[in-house]
Symmetry: C2
Subunit: 343 residues, 2 copies
């Protein structure tokens, strides 16, 4: 398998991107194609003995000679403040464009990037320079699997700030196929996120989507609130990309705020500080459980190829996991299954 | 001051509602008008010596003879599964209708209920049987002050699942007036909740609202994400009621999930359990900080009278706080200020 990794993606690029690629090449034995500023990537690979793992230990056995790593140069760089549409239109020599072109031309099987999400969405969806859509797909959507015990998917997580009922229906189909093939769930339970479960709740979009869901053949279980989502009432929770993105970011922000507040209060007294030290293994387990790095990245479903969007704050381990996810999406035949499922 | 309390509101009605009313009558010296099933309310008042405070201690000095408490009978009851519009249209003898009528007719200054939110919204907004809107208000909105250190308001929290740019503008005006008068903030910072701060982010609704905000005279500080909201980047965060409701419920659900997970992990080992016991005062402070009971309820802004919507799970203390909030909204002249501000 040949997987393209955007070396110029993460906030700390190209360090974590290159290190994660090396880890993945070693772990999976695949060919990794690093795309970006070639001299920078080469310097990073050369300095690789100095890199630390996600847990702070130096990565052992740094001889990368036996690994299958290729470099493809890309002269331009996309930065966070680039407008997605302008980046998609104008920066044809960016790592994003060059990398996606390799997938489009069949020179690679999947694309992984921790870069500007909007630019990835815009570029990947373009038919001329990106991958285009799978036949029948109205709008690609970004799915995100929440790192909680039941591992539910929220889709769309921001690809479409404005949606229509028929888009939401397809998000449900694509999310269902992903969860069935990737997480081994037979007949995934599909729900709509709403402001209440009772009949009559929901905005116009949700109300118009309900009959489509009911007659879809999906295992549609109704409308759920965020509380039920967190309790695992659905495997695939469908929502427009604006609300989905706000929901996901609220979850992250509240978790961060709460953990900070607990830490501050524990550090404020001697006894509580001792208690906190004794309870540290429990807190560590909680942090490990909530670790989005384990999940990998967010699959961009509906484009005609495998694209995994990793978090901008990815460390090498997270990049490795996103690459591992990409190879499983390729092996799972998700793209073909979506094409089939939407027929 | 005369404040109506819906005795048939909370999940455990009429216990917490009546007890909270007694606490408020004692604390503030106002007249409290309990509306609901008269025999039930009388029995509750008679048994009042048995009631426990929010902290589990019996409420001392239970002689309610010196307090100004009145009872007004309402023959019908609205339950959670009643459709809001049907309840508003048909249950004219419910505590909700009877209580709001007292405010409309000038027999009381404010209305407090922990009942079915949708039914309160629908009934209060009706011009014939409720309070109607303040002249100039397009849509009333529900504001909720988050119980985090910076105490920001999110508006709309669910009154309008579908909104228009001119509604959002008014939500900003009403929220700003509330935060200025009730929380003493000069020129409150008003922001729009969006899926990104960069230009070009947002759904169509947000994009069309931005120019209205910019030319409004409000202290508009731009678009913010949930992370910035939690960090206190705005005093008033404006959003449509669907997204706002999902956002608020996500915050509650994630906080509950995270605290449960921490508790489980602490209880899973002997040392961590001891640590947890030592750290208990810190956890208690965190719980107290996040306690929405301190805030009171959610003001329904834009209706032509003072309405405070308390949580269905309210205990007596929360009801007392909501009544205290109602009297401050009356004293602050919020209704007149909104009428003036929208001219």
């Amino acid at each position: 398998m040949r997987i393209v990794v955007d070396a110029m993606g993460s906030d700390e690029r190209p360090g974590p991107d290159v290190a994660g690629a090396v880890m993945a090449a070693r772990k999976f034995g695949d060919t990794i194609i690093l795309v970006g500023d070639k001299p920078l990537i080469e310097a990073e690979l050369a300095a690789h003995g100095q890199l630390l793992s996600a847990h702070g230990q130096p990565l052992a056995a740094h001889d990368i000679a036996g690994l299958s790593i290729e470099i493809v140069h890309a002269a331009e760089e996309i930065v966070m403040k680039d407008s997605p549409s302008a980046a998609a239109r104008d920066k044809r020599d960016s790592s994003l464009h060059v990398g996606l072109r390799l997938v489009r031309e069949g020179a690679a099987d999947a694309f992984v990037s921790a870069g500007n999400t909007g630019a990835i969405l815009a570029t990947a969806t373009l038919r001329q320079t990106g991958l285009g859509r799978i036949p029948g797909v109205l709008r690609p959507a970004m799915g995100v699997v929440f790192p909680i015990d039941t591992k539910p998917m929220l889709i769309d997580n921001g690809a479409n700030a404005d949606a229509k009922p028929e888009y939401l229906l397809q998000f449900g189909v694509m999310g269902s196929i992903y969860m069935e093939r990737m997480h081994g769930i037979a007949r995934p339970r599909v729900a709509l996120i709403s402001n209440g479960e009772e009949e009559g709740k929901g905005n116009l979009l949700i109300k118009e989507t309900i009959p489509l869901m009911e007659s879809s053949g999906l295992n549609y279980v109704g409308n759920i609130e965020p509380k039920e989502f967190m309790r695992g009432a659905a495997d695939v929770a469908v929502v427009d990309g604006f609300t989905g993105n706000v929901m996901m970011k609220t979850a992250e922000a509240v978790a961060g705020y709460l953990l900070d507040t607990i830490r501050k209060n524990i550090m404020a007294g001697t006894l509580t500080k001792i208690g906190g030290a004794l309870a540290r293994p429990a807190f560590k387990r909680v942090r490990d459980e909530f670790n989005p790095d384990e999940i990998g990245g967010a699959p961009l479903l509906g484009v005609n190829g495998v694209v995994i969007i990793a978090h901008g704050r990815s460390n090498p381990y997270a990049i490795q996991q996103a690459i591992g996810q990409a190879r499983r999406v390729v092996e799972g035949g998700i793209v073909a299954a979506i094409a089939e499922g939407l027929k």
